[in-house]
Symmetry: C2
Subunit: 340 residues, 2 copies
DNA sequence: GGCGATTGGGAAAGCGCTTTCCAATACGGT
DNA sequence: ACCGTATTGGAAAGCGCTTTCCCAATCGCC
């Protein structure tokens, strides 16, 4: 059985006693009409032979594929996996296959993947989470993307409006600012921010948004500690903050993962969050909705963002760059009770 | 610029003043030697023209691709996304691209994806989490897989040893059994299991393993409540259990997600986990390591499992089906303190 | 009934690459 | 010098499909 090579369209045509052209037309249905009788004969022959079209050959002949590429920093991170889930569902609806590219945040890998997707003649590319402020790399990516676009490809980005493509803009600034305002409204007066590395756009945007809101509402600037944009980063940052003596009554970690690390650090230090100190995060990661105390955060419609990005990249190409804004919604939970 | 179609190998050859064959050889390096001088000329021409090989054409000519397919039930589920992360990293090392197929647990979609991957002439397919006890569907999948294998493809599964392919067998039974023993060792005497749907293999295996361990150690059979294999399922199941009056001093949820739902249900019902009741899960999902109380669970090396699966599927094909076992490790945390 | 207008099938030309198979040149040994 | 043997470049045959283009057959209409 392993001997007989896969049936090709010619085999089907021969079996059905028609020409190659007719066989192709009968199977694709599309362009021109085939007499029903022949049509059936071809279909029958195809099933009999267990024919499977060769997508690569089709891609060659048609000059277009059925795949879209998705670049994420780390698919194991719930932020990205949720986005990926939404995008994958949408892709399925369109009959598209998703190429998952896990960049690990390495510029070099990102470029390699971009090149690979170009080679594959993938129909579209969605970039999520490669927003760095490293201009050298951004330029490099932009160039690759441009030549990909020139070749007829389509691309969109999530959250990084610095790339020359359509993008789903996440209102990090606004969300964080709104959060700051709500916290001040709850009675908090001295804030600290646990932020990620400086060259990470999401992180700096959220930090800046929060700081702006806080400044406008209280007239003072929040302190901050920077570390990794991860659970452990949050843990370390919070520990350092606590060591230095917590001047703050309220801490904003720029994402939920860091916030959870911070929660753990507080627990270990004997600081009771929700009483001695308030903590808030950003993203509203589903698996983290049950931590205790319930984490105040800014909810992002992550799955929708993935869906949106695909719609954007698949939609009618337009002359000017499209920006699709997505806003977060502050969700107050027990980690930031009203302050008496 | 959008006008000039992408440079082809012929263009490169012409530009370099060599034949198509030479150009191809110069670029791939492999099979035969090309005079260094020509080699350089070709390379120069390629960069000058911004040449990108067409992977589809290469696939056609070579008869093999650079992609592997990964089927998961839900990429947004941290269990799968962690596996996917490990697999993606490994794939990157091998220069392979990953096709992500999100089946949503729907048999029909799973089959569609399998067909699509076959059409793409994917080098290999890894199936994760399609382990159902629905024999009809399993049979169908097995058939598709068999014809894929006959066509020269390679496939491996994760956790479902009922498919006729190499598989990374997760010792769900043993892990759950070990957990049961440890819990009994801690002093617990009456257990209840929160389990998923009956046709979900992981769920039934874990349930059975736990029940076996419990029975052997205490002589009694744990009660159980079935619901969805998710956070909400765990929440509902636990609520029901509490309503019926908790005969149990210890609850095993067959995965961490359900366990977290259970934790939430307890909190809402005023039951203090770690004191009034013990709760344990399975998987040791990273993002859940900071819930309170710390969740006792069975740690699975998820990322390694993904890596292993790819290695398995890429390794030397062997006559008999290979099974690569992976065992979990019980991790005791505060949710199951020693019982005085 | 005759004519142009449809209609539907088939031959064949690619799509962009790899890889035989050949030919030509260079090299070594005696 | 001469012949056999490596080398290395090129022509061309595919890989499996789509799609023009062409042609025969059928249709409709005056």
């Amino acid at each position: 059985m392993a001997g007989e090579r896969a049936a090709t369209l010619s085999d089907v045509a021969r079996e059905a006693g028609v020409s190659l052209a007719t066989a192709s037309r009968a199977l694709n249905g599309s362009d021109r009409v085939v007499r029903p009788e022949l049509q059936e004969r071809v279909l029958a022959a195809a099933t009999k032979l267990g024919y499977t079209p060769n997508a690569n050959a089709q891609a060659m002949a048609r000059g277009s594929t059925e795949t879209v590429g998705l670049l994420v920093k780390d698919i194991a991170d719930p932020y990205f996996s949720t986005i990926a889930g939404g995008l994958a569902d949408e892709a399925e609806k369109h009959g598209l296959l998703v190429m998952l590219c896990n960049t690990g945040g390495q510029a070099e890998r990102e470029q390699k993947f971009l090149a690979a997707l170009r080679r594959q003649r993938s129909r579209a590319i969605v970039l999520a989470g490669s927003d760095t402020t490293d201009m050298g790399h951004t330029r490099e990516v932009a160039d690759l993307l441009t030549s990909y676009l020139d070749g007829g490809g389509r691309a969109a980005a999530i959250s990084q409006p610095r790339l020359p493509v359509d993008t789903v803009v996440i209102d990090n600034h606004g969300g964080a600012k709104a959060l700051a305002e709500r916290l001040v409204g709850l009675g908090y007066r001295r804030a600290a921010v646990l932020t990620g590395p400086e060259d990470l756009l999401v992180s700096t945007e959220r930090h800046a948004g929060f700081a702006e809101g806080w400044l406008e509402a209280t007239g003072s600037k929040p302190a901050y500690v920077a570390d990794e944009f991860s659970r452990d980063g949050g843990h370390r940052a919070m520990s350092r903050l606590l060591e230095d003596g917590p001047e703050a009554d309220c801490v904003f970690a720029v994402n939920d993962l860091m916030a959870v690390g911070a929660l753990a650090a507080c627990r270990q230090a004997g600081v009771e969050v929700g009483k001695d100190l308030a903590v808030a995060g950003f993203d509203d990661i589903a698996t983290l909705r049950d931590v205790t105390p319930g984490l105040t955060t800014v909810r992002l419609p992550l799955a929708d963002i993935g869906r949106l990005a695909l719609e954007l990249v698949l939609g009618e190409p337009s002359a000017e760059l499209r920006k699709q804004s997505v806003h977060g919604e502050v969700v107050l939970r027990e980690s930031t009770p009203p302050r008496s």
